[in-house]
Symmetry: C2
Subunit: 171 residues, 2 copies
């Protein structure tokens, strides 16, 4: 089939998107590196753990939630563990499993740096959009994310809150 090139409008949208993503991620990384001594992804790991009832999540679930590879997560958690911000527990029910937990120190770092982070997100993104655009943003990227179902994501939510994927739980 002959290529369906992007229309001029699509091209403009694509370019604006690509440029913005780069700029926003860089700004976010720099801000968090400054304030929290870690890049955005690492902060997100802490944040994700903190939102869980017990502040723990299995590696695979955490990786899936953050849309990153397990190997990338392993590396990141190892670093955060060295910094004392997260810990690892063995999963009692599935001896293969490893559970990342947010430590008290990790929680403190998060609480200390969250306001600055949110402020940055606002400055970079939300402050520049109208309320309608915020809604549009949500719809657009919800649609985009949904395009990936099956490759990842799976059903979700399970009996044990920090264990969201397959039917089994642990710890």
């Amino acid at each position: 089939m002959t290529t369906r090139w992007l229309s001029p409008e699509e091209q403009r949208a694509w370019r604006a998107y690509i440029a913005s993503v780069a700029l926003v991620e860089d700004a976010l990384d720099r801000q968090l590196q400054q304030e929290a001594g870690m890049p955005h992804l690492y902060y997100s790991i802490l944040a994700t753990l903190s939102e869980t009832p017990e502040r723990k999540l299995r590696m695979t679930d955490l990786a899936e939630e953050l849309k990153i590879t397990r190997s990338r997560l392993t590396y990141a958690v190892t670093r955060l563990e060295k910094d004392g911000l997260v810990g690892r527990e063995d999963c009692r029910w599935d001896k293969r499993g490893s559970i990342a937990t947010l430590t008290e120190d990790g929680m403190r770092v998060l609480e200390r740096t969250a306001p600055g982070h949110v402020e940055t997100v606002r400055a970079l993104l939300f402050d520049r959009l109208t309320p309608e655009q915020v809604g549009q943003l949500e719809e657009i990227f919800t649609a985009v994310s949904e395009g990936f179902q099956g490759e990842d994501a799976r059903p979700t939510a399970e009996d044990v809150p920090w264990r969201r994927r397959s039917g089994k739980s642990c710890s």
Copy 2:
């Protein structure tokens, strides 16, 4: 001042955005790694050069266009040079300058892989959006990019097409 936390809607938008960006970039990187043997950024370097009348651009301008650091670009161009896809020329007017040029081989790789790339971009993004949403996407990220003016971007377009920043040209 007390932190302006994100509203539930803003949070949903932010999360959907973050997740989508990760998924889209990963998919794009994988696709291009497969078809072109290089990650998305490297492909973008070739693409950007190809859109220039003479298929050459000064390093700084290229970096600015792509919103990346000069050092990152230096590394990338060095790799692409090894692969024979881009070359470096000295700038005759400003002896400090270095000009990246797209080679014939580079152009061929681009032409061969562009259709697959565009198809992927469609599959990941545009095929999932309504025409109105494409327009919204453009407006949203144009607004976001504009938030960075002054930190980068500068005036643009100059007398010599592949030299877009300061008043001088070369080669």
